[in-house]
């Protein structure tokens, strides 16, 4: 604001020598540009409201036809075949199965990589390794889907011959690998933010590197590390192409990772690939599942923000 008034003042001084017409024109142009900038800046807000409106208006129409409790508590998902059934639990359990199993890979590998980069790697090694991890982060998810179906699944089936051609485990492994760079880079930021004076104090007390890392550095960075895990979970829940390609299209209520399942996102893709007439129940169904997906990931994102804020940083 002060800068603003100063600029106006300065331009007023400058305009003493200018004739009035140019001055007025300049002023008008400034306010037109300002209005334009504000208008364009509203687009992110409109996008958010657009997403919420689109998802929840159609979801509301869906719940006019299907009771919300049947949707949330039902254990059979068969929205297209008669007799229809709209229990979303099989999809939700499918999503959770892939997410939890994926995190079993992403958490140790991601955190281990972060600790290596922040605590063990020489500056030179870090300069080489970080861009490689970034490349891993930039690979499109459909390519990870290729990896899951055509590389990981054959390996799984050679170890467990009873595994289905589409199975949750293969998708979970690929989802885990996909999330590793995210957890690694966010956790590394948190670890690097720990002041070196804390490490030095621990060394001075006779601790070795393992003790310094596990008893001082990681606990100090714990809120940032935890936030990276939660954001990883959010990514895994919303992940679509890997699970569509590798996990199958059978909404099974199972916790066996070798079976074919269907996740919330994979169901949305399955319906989108066919013709879905506007306003049909199938169309409303994908919006209801989309709203569920949106709520789940938003909760995770809010949780991550809360965790980051809960502990002061250094």
């Amino acid at each position: 604001m002060t800068e603003d008034s100063r600029a106006v003042e300065i331009s007023n001084v400058a305009n003493v020598t200018m004739h009035g017409g140019a001055h007025a024109w300049r002023r008008r142009r400034e306010s037109v540009i300002y209005a334009l900038l504000v208008l364009l800046s509203l687009i992110p807000i409109l996008t958010t409201f657009g997403i919420i409106y689109v998802l929840f208006s159609q979801a509301f129409a869906f719940f006019m036809e299907v009771p919300i409790m049947e949707f949330l508590m039902g254990t059979k998902w068969s929205p297209l075949l008669i007799p229809r059934s709209f229990g979303v639990l099989p999809l939700l359990v499918g999503t959770l199965l892939v997410t939890v199993a994926g995190m079993f890979i992403a958490v140790p590998v991601g955190l281990g990589s972060a600790i290596f980069l922040s605590e063990y790697a020489s500056p030179r090694a870090r300069r080489w390794l970080k861009p490689l991890i970034e490349i891993l982060a930039g690979i499109p998810t459909v390519v990870y889907g290729y990896l899951a179906l055509l590389f990981i699944t054959p390996i799984i089936r050679s170890i467990f011959p009873q595994a289905n051609a589409f199975n949750a485990l293969s998708a979970a492994i690929a989802v885990g690998i996909m999330i590793v760079p995210m957890i690694a880079s966010l956790s590394e930021d948190a670890l690097a933010a720990v002041p070196s004076s804390l490490r030095e104090a621990a060394y001075a007390l006779g601790a070795n590197k393992y003790e310094v890392i596990t008893k001082v550095v990681v606990p100090t960075a714990s809120s940032g590390i935890a936030a990276s895990f939660v954001l990883g979970i959010s990514r895994a829940i919303g992940e679509t192409m890997i699970v569509t390609l590798a996990a199958g299209a059978t909404p099974n209520l199972t916790l066996n990772p070798l079976e074919s399942i269907q996740t919330v996102t994979a169901f949305i893709v399955q319906i989108s690939l066919g013709e879905t007439p506007w306003g049909s129940l199938a169309y409303k169904t994908i919006f209801a599942t989309g709203a569920l997906l949106f709520v789940l990931t938003m909760l995770m994102n809010l949780l991550a923000v809360r965790i980051t804020k809960s502990k002061g940083r250094f």
């Binding site: 509203l42 490349i135 891993l136 192409m241 938003m298 994102n301």
Partner: protein, 291 residues
């Protein structure tokens, strides 16, 4: 007794220390091994199919005749439209937030929205594209619908990186401009933006390299998987590289899997070139204000 105990303790401490280091090294090797394994597999399966015909043929029922002409054109069309939407809007928002808004309430709300949008799964943008662009505005399953959806999807990346680039321009440059009698917009246009341009360009390239591989929102808005023509304008139906890859992977015949790998190679090549360009630009821009 005591000496023995402490000797034993110190050797287990040493073992733990070594073991932990080995585990961390193992983790990073696993990450890089996954990258290497993926690239190796894609190159081995895909390289033999990369012929000239692969780029000049349309999709086909026979894998040996199928090509990615329509997909390449569709992707190029979509990327240029996406860029022309998200660059002006993204930069305008960043300028407003950094140069005009200060800490106003509206600015805080916009920032909160941008942070939240960055965490929304890409498939959710597909719903927005389907309901607003395809149905409500009746752009149908066109390149335009795809590009608008993609532009909204990558908008947070463009805005945040443009904000960082603008913030990195030293205040003294702006003050110098004001001292010469320039208005706020003149200062922004002739001093701040030119100084921030390489940082902004880095963000735009990274945003486009994200958009080029996104598949789920395109499936939702109904980009077609089998197209035997090249889009002739923004309203034409289209296919894109990731959609074509998805379609070929999900077929049972092994012949299609090999050409899927070839198409993955082409897509990754696009992405690597964009990332390399971004990192070269970023390097230049990091050094800019150090002298």
């Amino acid at each position: 007794m005591n000496a023995n105990l402490s000797a034993g303790q110190s050797s287990t401490r040493k073992v733990k220390d070594r073991l932990f280091q080995a585990l961390c090294i193992g983790a990073i090797i696993f990450s890089l091994g996954a990258l290497a394994g993926l690239l190796l597999d894609v190159v081995i399966s895909g390289l033999p199919s990369l012929s000239w015909h692969f780029f000049t043929n349309f999709a086909s029922r026979f894998p040996e005749k199928a090509g990615i002409k329509a997909a390449i054109y569709g992707t190029l069309w979509m990327m240029s439209l996406t860029a022309s939407f998200c660059i002006p809007i993204g930069i305008a928002t960043a300028i407003y937030l950094e140069e005009y808004a200060g800490d106003s309430r509206l600015a805080r709300i916009i920032k909160l929205n941008i942070a939240n949008l960055a965490g929304v799964p890409s498939i959710v943008y597909g719903f927005l594209g389907l309901a607003i662009f395809v149905r409500m505005l009746q752009f149908d399953r066109s390149v335009l619908s795809g590009a608008l959806t993609m532009a909204l999807l990558v908008m947070p990346i463009v805005i945040v990186s443009a904000q960082e680039a603008i913030r990195a321009v030293p205040l003294s440059l702006r003050e110098g401009s004001y001292a010469l009698g320039a208005t706020r917009w003149q200062t922004t246009r002739r001093v701040v933006l030119p100084a921030a341009v390489s940082g902004i360009a880095t963000g735009v390239i990274l945003a486009l390299s994200r958009a080029i591989g996104e598949t789920a929102p395109l499936i939702m808005i109904g980009a077609l998987t089998f197209i035997a023509f090249v889009p002739d304008g923004p309203m034409a139906p289209f296919t894109a590289l990731p959609i074509q890859i998805f379609n070929w992977i999900s077929r049972p015949q092994a012949g299609f899997h090999d050409i899927a790998a070839a198409a993955v190679l082409v897509l990754l090549l696009f992405i690597f070139i964009m990332n390399a360009a971004a990192s070269i630009l970023r390097h230049r821009y990091d050094r800019r204000w150090q002298d």
